[in-house]
């Protein structure tokens, strides 16, 4: 059993991996920075007793980060398996 995949498969695997990486980084940037730029507007909305802008910085973004990493991890595993690049 070869311990590596063919160059064509490797290139396709890496292209998909890279796309996933950029998607994750965009989501990361949105919930790290962009959404908090609208904090004053969001504070006009009340969410379970919180001003929404405050809530996003204190909890909302954190929940998104946790979910994002588990989602990424599942997606990347699927990509690895699709191209036979997963661990045996």
């Amino acid at each position: 059993m070869p311990d590596r995949i063919s160059p064509e498969f490797a290139a396709a695997h890496w292209a998909k991996t890279r796309t996933l990486m950029w998607i994750c980084l965009v989501l990361w940037a949105v919930f790290s920075f962009v959404i908090h730029m609208f904090v004053s507007a969001l504070n006009g909305i009340t969410f379970v007793g919180f001003p929404l802008g405050f809530y996003m910085a204190a909890q909302g973004s954190l929940v998104v980060f946790v979910v994002l990493i588990f989602w990424y991890s599942a997606r990347q595993n699927a990509i690895d398996e699709e191209f036979g690049a997963a661990e045996d």
Binding site: D3, F31, V39, F65
Partner: protein, 619 residues
């Protein structure tokens, strides 16, 4: 090896027994305190003695004579447990100071909450799986292999040392403060109690021992963090979920801020001190988030946690679990701060807005001044005696002082709140044990990261590549002892700036290590020269600005020769170095000859999990 298999197979059962045993211990103290009137001093000593004994037991049971066990826990740590250990590793900066920072800063303090959590997305997506696939023992090990030769390795060690040593000193300092406050012993002695706590966890078993003690420490510290918050939430709102219930408390705080005449810019929930999105305050908020996030993804003691999982797949999942366990702590901190602030404000509201001088509560005197540090002041005077406070407030405040005259140090709020809220000693002692666990677990990770870089990268890779296992482990353990002693000695001197230096660690690591690590994986064209110049210039500019901004060229504070670029704060100094290191690494790599075919092939293999790790276990 059979014993090890038994241990990892039974992790769930062993740690359940441990957690159950700890719960029984807490309940027993509760009963003894309530019905037998157990003295507070006995309760506090019992907490520290029992927990340190447990850590020592785990540390001794995990002793090892195998190199891979010592450096990477035999790469056998399941994702969830590695997550708990990482959670413990990130707790040191949060446990003592975070709720206090949020109490003082309100919304603007949430930059710390965001900064120290979001960085894990970068760890998961950009680095952890690839570093695991590579199979190094240390972060400089990766730089040395990917870029070839000793210079990249040495630069990596310099950045690691600059970022981690002050951070380690601050953790030992914190453990000393906690031990001296809760055990009532002298600070100088308490520091060496902290040192002993660190050594029993790390010296005999390296990463293996640190991992399993950190899991045990996480269980204690999360209980200690949640219990007082749940307590306050139940007392105030009747619902034991502080993280949700403090929404309405924020409303109460806003009402009381109006009633007590708090200046608008100090309102708790108000972003950027009331300035708009284009203000310096808002810019600082975002710069800080960015530097802390990138720093989290660059600090070697965090990255090396993901070297210990059995597979690449587990490494990815483990980052998720790490952030989950960190999240439990960090999303409670703002709730803790809000309830603590509510309690203090309410005291003033009940008193009609001003508190008379003979009404100063006893806890303010107890926490007013500890080991020469002023933690509570009224009208700018340390709360040590009533006459001094009255003199400082002056004749126009003869009737008493208001909420705005009271200043609480951010490092006392978490530890003192249970006392302020009148909780029983078994809770107060638990918080002390939790704070001690948090400081120890972070210090363990840091001391190991520093000592491993010195013993593996400098001694083994540069000085004596022929050393046998026995000698390598002897050297590793000796260096660990020396690093810990040096840090404890520095902490016992109480350098005044040590706490502010912790936040610098993130900027220094980010500017020095992030670009060469990320580009080393994601850009096969990155060359040795590119990485070398990227580290030197990125780290150099950040260090130059940090020292220049804080001390100036004469290395003395406040002499007027301090650097100031665009009013950027020293804590965000990485904002200059991070882009510089990326640009320099990229550009220099493009103008120097491409890496060898073997190296480009090596990078390609790094990217697919298949085929086992690239470095041999015995390297």
């Amino acid at each position: 090896m059979a014993a090890k298999g038994d241990f990892t197979d039974n992790l769930g059962r062993l740690y359940s027994i441990y957690a159950g045993g700890f719960a029984v211990f807490v309940i027993a103290l509760w009963i003894l305190e309530d019905f037998a009137g157990l003295p507070s001093k006995v309760i506090l000593w019992a907490y520290v003695a029992l927990t340190v004994l447990v850590y020592a037991y785990i540390g001794i049971m995990s002793r090892t004579s195998q190199v891979s066990e010592y450096y990477v826990a035999g790469r056998s740590v399941p994702a969830v447990y590695n997550g708990m250990a990482t959670g413990a590793e990130m707790s040191g900066i949060c446990f003592v100071g975070m709720a206090g920072s949020l109490y003082v800063l309100g919304y603007d303090g949430l930059a710390f909450v965001l900064g120290w959590t979001g960085g894990y997305v970068l760890v998961a997506v950009l680095l952890a799986p690839y570093l695991r696939k590579f199979g190094a023992y240390t972060v400089p090990d990766f730089l040395g292999t990917r870029y070839g030769g000793n210079l990249p390795r040495l630069l990596g060690i310099i950045v690691l040392f600059a970022a981690s040593f002050t951070y380690l000193t601050a953790q030992i300092y914190a453990s000393g403060i906690i031990a001296s406050r809760f055990l009532g012993i002298d600070f100088q002695i308490a520091v060496f109690a902290g040192l002993a706590g660190i050594l029993v966890c790390s010296m005999l078993g390296g990463m293996r021992a640190v991992t399993w003690t950190q899991v045990a420490q996480y269980i204690i510290l999360i209980t200690a963090y949640l219990l007082p918050a749940i307590w306050m939430s139940t007392v105030k709102t009747g619902v034991p979920i502080p993280q949700i219930m403090y929404g309405s408390i924020l409303g109460d705080i806003a009402t009381m801020e109006q009633a007590l005449g708090v200046a608008t810019k100090d309102f708790h929930s108000l972003p950027f001190d009331g300035n708009g999105l284009w203000s310096i305050e808002a810019r600082d908020f975002f710069f800080l988030i960015f530097c802390l996030m990138v720093g989290t993804a660059s600090l070697p003691h965090i990255l090396m946690r993901f070297f210990t999982t059995p597979t690449v797949r587990e490494a990815r999942k483990s980052v998720g679990w790490s952030l989950f366990f960190i999240f439990l702590l960090y999303f409670t901190a703002p709730a803790y701060a809000a309830f603590a602030k509510f309690n203090v404000m309410d005291m003033f509201v009940q008193a009609g807005g001003v508190l008379a001088y003979d009404q100063i509560p006893a806890w303010m005197y107890r926490w007013g001044n500890i080991g020469g540090n002023t933690l509570i002041s009224i009208c700018g005077a340390p709360v040590t005696d009533q006459a001094a406070v009255m003199a400082a407030c002056g004749a126009d405040k003869a009737a008493g002082f208001g909420f705005s005259d009271l200043s609480l140090g951010k490092d006392m709020i978490m530890l003192s709140t249970p006392e302020i809220a009148g909780m029983p000693w078994f809770v107060i002692g638990l918080v002390g044990a939790g704070g001690f666990a948090a400081a120890l677990s972070t210090a363990d990770g840091l001391v190991l990261a520093i000592a491993n870089a010195l013993s593996h990268d400098i001694y083994y890779k540069m000085i004596d590549p022929n050393a046998d296992t026995k000698r390598r482990l002897f050297i590793a353990k000796t260096i660990l002892l020396l690093v810990a002693l040096l840090a404890a000695y520095t902490a016992s001197k109480q350098p005044s700036d040590i706490l502010s230096m912790v936040a610098w660690a993130f900027s220094l690591a980010a500017a020095g290590l992030f670009a060469p690590l990320v580009l080393g994986v994601w850009d096969a064209r990155t060359t040795r020269q590119g990485a070398i110049w990227g580290i030197i210039l990125g780290f150099g500019v950040t260090l130059y600005y940090l020292v220049g901004n804080v001390y100036g060229f004469d290395l003395a504070k406040g002499t007027g020769d301090e650097l100031n670029w665009f009013d950027v704060k020293s804590i965000s100094a990485g904002i200059f170095g991070i882009p510089i290191s990326f640009i320099v690494t990229y550009v220099v790599s493009r103008v120097t000859p491409a890496p060898s075919r073997e190296m480009q092939d090596f990078v390609l293999r790094l990217r697919a999990p298949k085929g086992g790790q690239l470095m041999e276990q015995t390297h």
